[in-house]
């Protein structure tokens, strides 16, 4: 009755990964930059999930946030401005075994990479996309970004941004085949972690917009939200992103939202600042199933197929 079963065996995990296993170069972001918190959250998730570093790839475009891969000890690809998403999709295309994290900025994703954003969401490949949205171009020193609020004084609009900002949540929720949309904030580590963890677990492309503080180029951008957290509306639901009681207490304004309800998600995105999971549908088709078809076709099979193809042209 008690004791070990006859077929007992101890599965010794030969490798155990610690946070160190994912710690790359010293992060050179400014003190107080929200990017640090995201890095820590991702490293913790990798550790919690015991992702082998050699099977994990951090992919980015260009911008401060896009320095991200250098600070991981996994494989990484720091590509071109705006092109992180097609690069990441290509990495995943024939390597479904890899865990792909994408770090991109509001300029990188919503401006120069806007076309890729729309299409990557539609491809719905199984990757985790984190947009570090500081409402500014940080790396190039304070130019207006697509999400800069109207009136923000920047180096390109010294009299204030003349246009209303883009709403990336609405846009993403309007893309066909969208399967995961969430929003979180860098100054609540627990919500950040829980959101990225849910995103990582999601089958398909998970899109997470992270409101990220940039003390150097857009200081005080989120002061108002930090001071008055009731301006944020925490989305709660059994299928949503759960944080435990005391952590949730920091959000005086909470709202039940069923993340399977796309129409509700869309109106949620239009009104106020929702924090949490807006939409999730794991049944949507993933393009990786097509791109990875045929992996491992044997040399013999290939030669036979080629021979057949040549027959069609034989004289």
């Amino acid at each position: 009755m008690f004791g070990l079963k006859a077929d007992w065996s101890l599965e010794v995990t030969q490798r155990y990964f610690t946070l160190e296993s994912y710690t790359g170069a010293d992060a050179r972001w400014c003190p107080g930059c929200g990017d640090h918190a995201v890095l820590t959250a991702v490293q913790r998730i990798c550790r919690d999930e015991q992702l082998p570093p050699e099977r994990t790839v951090a992919v980015s475009g260009i911008g401060c946030a896009s320095r991200f891969p250098h600070y991981m000890a996994t494989y990484g690809f720091h590509g071109l401005h705006g092109r992180a998403l097609p690069l990441a999709c290509g990495i995943k295309a024939r390597r479904p075994d890899l865990h792909v994290w994408v770090a991109t900025g509001d300029g990188d994703c919503f401006s120069i990479g806007a076309g890729h954003w729309i299409h990557a969401v539609r491809y719905n490949m199984d990757i985790t996309v984190m947009v570090f949205d500081n409402n500014i171009y940080g790396l190039t020193k304070k130019q207006t970004s697509p999400t800069s609020p109207a009136g923000l004084k920047t180096n390109t609009h010294p009299l204030g941004n003349p246009l209303p900002p883009q709403n990336p949540l609405s846009v993403t929720l309007a893309i066909s085949n969208v399967s995961f949309v969430a929003q979180t904030i860098d100054w609540h580590p627990m919500h950040l972690h829980a959101t990225l963890h849910a995103a990582f677990k999601h089958r398909g492309l998970s899109f997470v917009r992270i409101l990220q503080r940039c003390p150097a180029m857009n200081d005080h951008a989120f002061d108002e939200l930090q001071r008055n957290p009731e301006k944020l509306s925490l989305l709660t639901h059994p299928q949503g992103i759960g944080i435990d009681g005391s952590a949730a207490d920091r959000f005086p304004n909470q709202q039940v939202h069923d993340p399977s309800n796309l129409a509700a998600a869309r109106s949620m995105a239009e009104a106020g600042i929702p924090i949490g999971l807006l939409f999730q549908d794991e049944t949507r088709p993933c393009y990786d199933h097509l791109t990875s078809a045929g992996i491992g076709t044997s040399i013999d099979a290939k030669l036979r197929a080629l021979d057949g193809a040549l027959d069609r042209f034989a004289v």
Binding site: L98, T291, A305
Partner: protein
């Protein structure tokens, strides 16, 4: 001969006359000729190209050398009966190897008279070219059309063309009530008789070409061909035989884009990421049909930049990928090509060149991407640039490109062009080799202590870890980096990276052979070419040599790095001229001071690299170069009159 009788009844209603004709013809022996050039021209959508392709395939299968080239209007659907709207095909075929489209055509079948004007203007015909012209327009209900028709026929005759007015559509009516769609097969039947093609082989080829169509359509096509064949037999005196040349090796016949697609498959690459662009797209069309048979996938990306980044991602993660495009797409990919250079990602980029700049001549040939390929990316971005000279090379150079990309950890640009893309030519069936397919993705643990850019000082080469290889974790980056894959903040580190990436090209060059000289090793004039002009240049050189001129040619496949030994070859000739399909200022233009003359692209390159006073002769008329035009230019350079060569009308 039931075939003939059935047709005859339909056409003349009187089988007896027909039988007599048949007997007379049977006694007439075909005239043996070496080669001919035939064109079929029509409004677009009348199936001229299909008929011509099948005729080319039949001829190839009968053992002839063949080159076919499509005649494509720039507009997708030009108005009917428009002068510049010719859509169709040219087939040059002969007893020997045919390497280019040749000069003026011998025979042209035209489904209306208007489309011939544009062809005449582009020098496609000569005195004596036989025009088999649909005569229904001469009886059209509209007096305006009748008048146009008569004017045209008189004009063609005044230009020395021999016009035969034939009831083509009427001939089809014996078999079908809607002849407009079937006319092309009737024309194919006519050509099969004129050139003494084996009718059974022709029917087999047609059956194969329409294998996916309904039995009804296939039967109709058969009848139309037989009807055309019988019609020609009854009414035409032209009757030729183009003997086959003995065939030792099995051949395949295809166009350059199909060769590219098969090359991708034979190279072991499993991913092509592309965005549609003429004239490159058909390669991906064909690939999309069959790529899954070898486990491959065509990704149609949202734009060219996405396509190449997708390919770079795939290459980075272990499977070298390919992206196929044309000039405008190549321009969009440039920043990303620089990324592949900097991060040392193996990658194959194919550019099927068309006329430029901007949208240029989307359907027409030009060799305008050479300098962009070499120098289009900002900074110093050494990469391999190859150019296919034949359709066969479209296949083989793709395999080489994949191998070079991986060995040298570098992007390889393979240039072809619209002429190769749509030209069809037989070549020896490739003997497939398992090594072409490359190795599976290496997942063995990475060797400790070896960094991701552990450059070998002598060669610039470094080993490349692939995700999945434990211990090889590194960040590929477009930022300048050290051999340890860390961002380079020191000036020396930047220079060292540049040096190492450049050194790879020097290393590659040392493994190459000098190009072969066509003709004598020394002489008065050396013609230097690259890409699809090979056949036309060598044919022109041969003709000029037959005139006693000391002219030779070399043809380059490697443009970066250049093939070695060029200095030695060039120094044995008095004059050197490149022949190219791109723009250059005329040599003696009064508007150009010597220092401001802009050269053909290969000439720019060779002048800069080799310090020879290399001249160029180039045309950018959206057409392949004709051997006759090159021949006349060679003669001109020897101070001679235009040569004995039937001139275009």
């Amino acid at each position: 001969m039931t075939r003939d009788l059935r047709y005859l009844r339909a056409i003349t209603g009187d089988p007896s006359t027909r039988v007599t004709v048949q007997r007379e013809r049977a006694q007439k022996r075909p005239q043996v000729i070496d080669e001919h050039i035939v064109e079929i021209v029509s409004d677009s959508g009348e199936g001229a190209q299909k008929a011509g392709q099948i005729f080319g395939a039949i001829s190839a299968k009968m053992g002839n050398g063949v080159w076919t080239v499509e005649i494509i209007p720039a507009e997708i659907k030009p108005p009917a009966r428009s002068r510049a709207g010719a859509s169709g095909i040219r087939i040059r075929f002969g007893s020997n190897l045919i390497s280019n489209m040749g000069d003026a055509a011998n025979v042209v079948v035209a489904l209306n008279e208007q489309v011939l004007y544009g062809r005449i203007d582009s020098g496609a015909y000569k005195q004596g070219t036989a025009v088999l012209l649909e005569n229904k327009w001469g009886k059209d209900a509209s007096p305006e059309i009748v008048e146009q028709y008569q004017t045209a026929v008189a004009y063609f005759r005044s230009r020395g063309l021999v016009v035969h007015e034939l009831p083509i559509e009427e001939g089809c009516r014996s078999v079908t009530a809607s002849p407009r769609l079937g006319k092309n097969m009737f024309v194919l039947g006519i050509l099969c008789w004129i050139y003494n093609r084996n009718l059974d082989k022709a029917l087999a080829e047609v059956a194969c070409a329409f294998a996916r169509k309904s039995e009804e359509v296939r039967a109709l096509n058969r009848q139309l061909i037989e009807a055309g064949f019988a019609f020609a037999q009854a009414h035409l005196t032209m009757h030729y035989d183009v003997p086959a040349r003995p065939q030792r090796t099995p051949l395949v016949v295809m166009n350059g884009n199909q060769a590219l697609a098969l090359g991708v498959m034979a190279s072991g690459m499993e991913l092509v990421a592309m965005y549609p662009i003429t004239p490159a797209t058909s390669a991906s069309h064909y690939l999309s049909e069959i790529f899954h048979d070898v486990g491959g996938f065509v990704h149609q990306a949202e734009d060219e930049i996405a396509a190449i980044n997708f390919a770079i991602g795939s290459s980075f993660s272990g499977k070298t990928a390919c992206t196929i495009t044309s000039g405008p797409g190549l321009a969009l990919k440039m920043e990303s090509i620089g990324l592949a250079v900097m991060a040392e990602i193996p990658l194959v980029i194919v550019s099927v060149q068309r006329g430029g700049p901007a949208t240029g001549l989307p359907t027409k040939v030009e060799q305008g991407d050479l300098l962009a390929a070499l120098f289009g990316a900002p900074g110093d971005a050494p990469k391999v640039v190859l150019a296919a000279a034949t359709i066969e090379e479209c296949f083989h150079l793709l395999i080489a490109a994949r191998q070079l990309a991986e060995t040298f950890r570098i992007p390889v640009i393979l240039l072809t062009d619209a002429n190769l893309a749509t030209g069809v030519q037989p070549f020896p069936r490739p003997k497939l080799r398992p090594q072409w397919l490359g190795l599976p993705i290496d997942q063995a643990p990475w060797q400790r202590g070896v960094s991701a850019y552990d450059w070998d000082e002598k060669t610039g080469l470094s080993p490349r870890p692939v995700p999945g290889q434990r211990g090889g974790e590194y960040v590929a980056t477009g930022l300048a980096h050290t051999s340890g894959a860390k961002v380079a903040y020191e000036p020396d580190a930047n220079e060292w990276g540049l040096t190492m990436r450049s050194r790879k090209l020097a290393t590659l060059q040392q493994t190459l052979k000098p190009p072969a000289v066509h003709g004598q090793e020394k002489g008065d004039l050396l013609v230097v070419g690259w890409g699809s002009t090979l056949g036309a240049i060598e044919e022109a050189v041969d003709r000029a040599r037959a005139d006693g001129l000391a002219v030779s040619s070399v043809h380059l496949r490697f443009l970066s790095p250049l093939e070695p030994g060029l200095k030695q070859i060039f120094s044995r000739f008095r004059d050197i001229v490149t022949v190219e399909i791109n723009y250059s200022d005329a040599a003696n233009s009064p508007r150009n001071a010597e220092a401001s003359r802009r050269y053909g692209q290969l000439a720019w390159l060779l002048r800069a690299q080799l310090l020879f006073d290399i001249d160029c002769w180039s045309q950018a008329r959206g057409q392949p170069l004709q051997p006759g035009a090159i021949y006349q230019e060679i003669r001109r350079r020897f101070g001679l009159e235009r040569g004995e060569l039937a001139c275009s009308v």
